[in-house]
Amino acid sequence: MSLTRDLMCELRARLGASAAMPPPPAPRHVEPLSVPRFPSLPEVTPLREERAQAVPAAELASPDVAVRRVSPLRSRPNAFAAEAARHTTALVGIGHVGTRYATDVVLQFQAELAVAHQAVDTVLPEDWAQSQGLLGLKSRVSDHREFLLRPDLGRRLDEPSLAVLRERAAKDIDIQPILADGLSAVACMGSGKRLLDAFIRECQSRGWSVGTPLCARFARVWLEDEIGQTVRAKVAAILLGERPGLGTGDGLSAYLVYDPKVGNTDGLRNMMSNIHERGTPPEQAAKRLALLAGAMLQQRRSGVSLDLSAIAAELGDAGTTGYRAAQERVRLVETQR
């Protein structure tokens, strides 16, 4: 008896079948191949198309038209693409081959996709925080797959990290800066430290007390709540790799929250996205984030109720709660001949 049959018997019995499974079929007698199995079937008349394809092999070898070189007809990027590029980064005016893309479009797209996937797949090394002189923490997540599947675990510190934070981090401070991997360790290891250092300098130059510089692995945005609450910071600022988009795996986002505590929701945060060389460079972003933190300290609140009208011009796109800023498109594939 096979396992499958056992299983089926159980199921059938439970579903109320009166008889058990029929006995397994006896090995059938198979007729030898030489005997025609369906002698009574009429001869099949091929359809017209099928007949047309039934060309004798000899003819195939010598076609009527001598083909020397095959050249596909392809539409190339045109004036429309150039005009459109002034208004949108969408890939338009790209032409087509049949109903599909030209080869260079396929390669550009695949390169952009690969850059995004590589950024997501990269894991922040365990010793990276220490190598940068930062106090290393970890969320309750234990591996990369779990990080993607369990955002709830990425929002809380594991026990050892909580103990380290309680023992070694400065308490009762104005600002707690936190660098983190988020959804792109590539971005974190790229310009993360530059952004963190520049942000700390901006805060110190304003006379605020700044917490021990931290770096968290497998971290989601809301992790700043538990960290900020533990060190009793007025404002927590987490700077982390943002979810990669096509061709952009190195962008950082920053989320600031006043009075950080577990249970805060997104409406209580202000954010800035697209921090990288081709977007807002780290030093400029740091200035804007310090302005934002200043407004929070002054008004003792954050999120949708924070009034940013007085500093709107200087803030640029910092302080929004909306979508991420436009991405510049660069040609990714260059081949050498």
Binding site: L15, H87, L91, G93, L148, G245, Y323
Partner: protein, 453 residues
């Protein structure tokens, strides 16, 4: 009611219909996150065996969110077509599955029974079906709707044109829109997700799209997907608006997180009937997606397939012109990979069609989920074969605002050609007139945005 089954001598008992429904669901990361998934594949089959014998009236009596606690449950229960329900009340879920698959059961027969089915019944049937089962029944269902043009006729595959722009640059939107039109896209709707959620920007985009549609006499519908309250204000400004949009979720509490309720949607629908710019009778556009209830902690310990079906129970009250599930948008914590996204797309399409909706699908993935571009292209063909009413279309499938990967301008004519499907008859005639298409083949104007003035 005893809810138990044994497989190979192991006894599996379940505490509630809700638990049976959840554990019968194929593996989904969102059900694991919610803590309601079956603990192993054998328990999953045991749950399905129990589910297959439950009568439909038991499912009606056991909604996953109680009548007293939830306005969506009350809406479904109070407006259910009793005559249609009596025709199927005696069936078990297993028998319903077989009735749906039976060759003698036509699309018209399913359409007649549909107003008597609750969302929980549709979800239960989906859980007993394989992907091919879901496609077979989905392709049978016929849901035909009309606004400016006629959607959902047999042998048709339509598309939403989605020319989004991260800062609502109207010129940028129009460039992308012209490109999409010349690939034969946009017969379901030209729909833009705005970056700025204000009545003025909604009105500005709608007027610009309306101008292009009038100038080129394009037989389709337009829509800006801002919040419903914003669109209501835009209508008050005298804005042309063919379709009114809103995202829906599967419980009262989850809808509160979206800023909507049944009375608000009733009001929106009334305003749209009075002031919308289509001849109708269908005027609303809804989007849904598995996992949205859990993401606002409002899933009431139910699985995400059942919660999704409840969105359709809400949607059908408003006789919508379009409903689509945005199937991979929410991220890997709800649908981990290509297999789960594919399964969810086919489930949602089946459940929506079974409940009488013109069901489309935004087949898509975010860049941190495990779905390959090739899997997405396969899914488009599966959806087309399953009779999906419409797919999305974007330049190279890249949404430069919402930052995810969907289906492309080039994919729409490709899938149509593979499956010998045409756009809406009105749009089909327009494509022939402009020379964009020559039947299913590219015409002389194909891929040339200059044909759109």
């Amino acid at each position: 009611m005893r809810l138990a089954a044994s497989i190979r001598g192991t006894q599996y008992a379940f505490k509630s219909v809700k638990e049976v429904l959840a554990k019968a669901n194929p593996p989904k990361s969102g059900d694991v996150l919610a803590g309601v998934a079956a603990r192993d594949p054998v328990e999953r089959v045991a749950a399905r065996a129990v589910l297959s014998e439950l009568e439909l009236k038991t499912l009606r009596e056991n909604p996953v969110v109680p009548y007293e606690e939830d306005e969506l449950t009350r809406l479904v229960e109070d407006s259910l077509d009793e005559t249609a329900f009596r025709a199927v009340a005696h069936l078990s879920v297993g028998e319903l599955r077989e009735w749906l698959l039976c060759a003698k059961t036509s699309g018209a027969m399913i359409r007649a029974v549909s107003p008597g089915l609750t969302p929980e019944i549709a979800a239960a049937a989906a859980k007993l079906m394989s992907n091919m089962d879901l496609m077979t029944v989905g392709a049978k269902c016929e849901v035909v709707v009309r606004a400016n043009s006629t959607l959902g006729l047999p042998g048709r595959l339509s598309s939403r044109l989605q020319p989004n722009h991260p800062s609502d640059d109207v010129e940028g939107i129009l460039y992308s829109m012209r490109e999409g039109l010349c690939y034969g896209c946009g017969d379901a709707v030209i729909g833009i997700n705005p970056a700025t959620d204000t009545p003025e920007s909604t009105a500005e985009i709608l007027r610009a799209v309306d101008d292009v549609m009038r100038r080129n006499r394009i037989p389709t519908q337009h829509c800006v997907l801002s919040h419903v309250t914003v669109q209501m204000k835009a209508l008050e400004l005298g804005t042309p608006m063919d379709l009114m949009f809103q995202s829906l979720a599967g419980s009262e509490q989850a809808n509160r997180a979206f800023g909507i309720s049944v009375p608000l949607m009733d009001e929106a629908w009334e305003i749209m009937k009075a002031k919308g710019s289509t001849r109708g009778p269908n005027r609303m556009y809804f989007e849904t997606g598995q996992g949205s209830a859990l993401s606002s902690a409002a899933n009431h310990d139910a699985d995400q397939v059942t919660m999704e079906a409840r969105c359709y129970g809400f949607a059908r009250r408003y006789q919508p012109f379009l409903v689509n599930t945005v199937v991979g948008f929410i991220g890997p914590e709800y649908l981990e990979d290509g297999q789960q996204i594919t399964r969810a797309a086919l489930e949602d399409h089946f459940m929506g069609k079974l409940l009488g909706l013109p069901m489309g699908c935004d087949a898509c993935f975010t860049y941190h989920s495990r779905m390959a571009q090739d899997e997405l292209e396969c899914l488009e063909v599966l959806l087309g074969a399953a009779g999906c009413t419409y797919l999305m279309s974007l330049p190279v499938g890249d949404d430069i605002m919402l930052n995810y990967q969907s289906t492309s301008y080039h994919d729409i004519p490709s899938v149509r050609r593979l499956l010998a499907k045409r756009p809406t008859p009105e749009f089909d005639a327009w494509l022939a007139e402009t020379g964009i298409m020559d039947g299913l083949a590219p015409g002389p104007g194909f891929g040339d945005p200059k044909v759109i003035r």
